[in-house]
Amino acid sequence: MHKAILSRLQREAAPLKLSRFASGRGPILAVFDDWSGHPLWVAKTASEPLHAARLRNEYDALMYIAPWSGELGIPRVLEWQESCGEAVLIQSGVPGARGRVSLSTNASDKRLERHFQEPLAWAERFRALVPAPSGMTVGQLAERYVVDLRGREFGNAVNGLVEILGQAGPASLRPVVAVHGDFNPSNVLLKRPGLSVVDWPTFGPGFPLQDAFSFITNTDYYGRGHVCALAESYQHAFFSSSRVSQLVRLQTEAAKCSADDSRFLFYCFLAAQICADAAVPQQTWLDILGYLQEFGYPGPFTPLPAPRLDSGSVVSHAIAASSAHCRTADA
């Protein structure tokens, strides 16, 4: 056991329950109060330089947003140690339980409200409270995505996306905002009232609506006897007349985005997801880009036909791959 964790464990007077969770980036130990069941603190360790760097990002993020941690339900840093490529971050436990991570494509308004209302309100409050960690504009951020995309061996498939990201417009001149970066139902713990948000290594500068889009598309949608693949989720959330799509429209309107702004921000979001999510197979992104290219890279709220599910379709591959990814990640 890491000495920092051991010494903290020895200092605790109350009866404790120690839990080990598996993570692809090193173990997570959570310590619960045996009487109340509340998590007291959570220790993340990394023994490889790459994972340690990610943990360092999380530490920097938690320190930056510490003034608002109580108000926004964010963990506080209790201890940080880093040496020789190894790192340990001990953060306070936050109350709350994991809510639903899936939603029916035919979910009722009440269910939709329950699923989205509080997280999206939290994202808005976070954006309003926490100052951006950089003075960049969204356009400059988009240039970073372009550089990243060009280095990813996507070939010509990203040309259309790169072209959109390079276009100057009102949205590209907006200043960046602070974003969680991986805001999805798995990182949100529901409590009454409010919620807590965990897992902050991806915190950084982003564009308005990034967290809201992320939460909406990272919900597992299901319907007609199957779980939607990523391509279907994108179509359901952005390119259909579904209630979720209407919700996205309301979000963009609240952020005072024109149709062109919404288009630019949507493709910024897509680029950010491609650059950030190493777990999703490259072929999945290629298929989604191919699907959007087929319709001339439309802006959101343009109704598009659902991605084809027949075995000959490229999208079917994306669906199989992303479904397998979902199952593997969950298992």
Partner: protein, 353 residues
């Protein structure tokens, strides 16, 4: 970490402690309890061959390991066997062992050394293995990987007696259930008690014992997973009925399992057994992926179980999923997991500590 390894001590038949160092391990009474053989400290008697692969295959593996390196040699094995030898996650429980780096640890029944070699990255480890060939394989790993903190000890797990107060932690992973086979002259429970008392004696003050083992009435057993007898459901039967069934069966491992001697227990059975051996449960975890892959260790705590259970709530695309999810939510409570969790891992401390 200390510059010099602490020396393991065993007890001679005369009752005197004997240090496992040098070429021959001599007792003050003049008796030679064992000797060093090719990097393995052999304390006689040693156990007859037993293993997941046959003796000939094991001998061939050893020869290949010496010739071309153990990592290359295991490439030819089945994926399950390779995982058994290579997977560092088998020692993932070390993250919850409350001992500092540099502690002295005894790994009882080290097998092919997966856990012992992982532990040796942070601690001074003595790997105790009963079978000669397997102990030699661990020694080969030690030599080729340059593990200076590892002592390989080949001795009969049921017969070797350790001197008192020498280990900060003792790891007994998947061994306690087999102890009934080490000594056929006494009832299995009695053999288990002797085994635990011997290990308890070897603990330093404040030391701890880690045990990974199946639940007698666990969910896997109810679903019909093969018991250590080689037959399904035998752990669920009353002992006399299990003995009767095993004597009349030709299942895998039943020949070795004379009658039925591989006793496992329910949570309360273990608690009783440990208390009789002078040990108290400090922590209990359920290992949902099995005690051989303790990457997830869930304590008997409502919040922790709830967090773990929600990982298994899949999108309810049909009514069956809805029912199953509802069931999973309802079952996410400590009393249910304590009773039907398939694999336990325990952290024990001596009662008088």
């Amino acid at each position: 970490m200390p510059g010099r390894l602490a020396v393991t001590r065993v007890v001679c038949g005369c009752g005197r402690p004997v240090s496992i160092e040098g070429e021959r391990f001599l007792c003050g009474c003049g008796n030679e309890v064992g000797s060093m053989d090719d990097g393995v400290a052999v304390v006689r008697p040693v156990a007859p061959y037993w293993g997941e692969i046959g003796q000939e295959a094991m001998t061939a593996l050893l020869a290949a390991s010496e010739r071309s390196g153990w990592r290359q040699a295991v490439e030819g094995l089945s994926p399950g066997m390779r995982d058994n030898i290579l997977n560092p996650d088998r020692a993932a429980f070390q993250d919850v062992l409350p001992i500092p780096d540099g502690s002295s640890v005894l790994d009882v029944g080290a097998g092919l050394g997966c856990i012992a070699t992982e532990l040796a990255a942070h601690h001074e480890v003595t790997a105790l293995e009963g079978v000669r060939e397997r102990a030699r394989f661990i020694a080969c790993r030690k030599r080729q990987d340059g593990l200076k903190n590892l002592t390989v000890l080949n001795a009969d797990l049921g017969a070797v007696r350790f001197d008192q107060a020498q280990f900060d932690a003792v790891v007994v992973n998947g061994v306690l259930e087999w102890v009934g086979l080490f000594d056929l002259a006494v009832p299995p429970e009695e053999a288990q008690l002797r085994f635990l008392r011997n290990l308890r004696r070897a603990l330093k003050p404040g030391g701890l014992l880690y045990v990974g083992i199946e639940n007698r009435i666990g969910w896997d057993q109810i679903r019909g997973t093969r018991d250590h007898s080689g037959l399904p459901y035998t752990s669920l039967l009353p002992r006399f009925a299990a003995r009767w069934v095993c004597r009349r069966s030709m299942g895998f491992r039943t020949e070795l399992n004379h009658g039925y001697r591989t006793y496992t227990y329910s949570y309360y059975g273990y608690r009783r057994l440990f208390r009789r051996a002078g040990l108290e449960i400090e922590s209990t975890w359920i290992a949902p992926l099995g005690y051989n892959l303790p990457t997830r260790m869930v304590p008997l705590n409502k919040t922790a179980i709830d967090l773990q259970s929600r990982r298994w709530i899949y999108p309810p695309i049909g009514w069956r999923d809805r029912v199953v999810n509802q069931g999973k939510r309802w079952l996410a409570r400590p009393s249910v997991w304590r009773t039907f969790g398939s694999d336990f891992t325990f952290l024990l401390r001596p009662l008088d500590a």
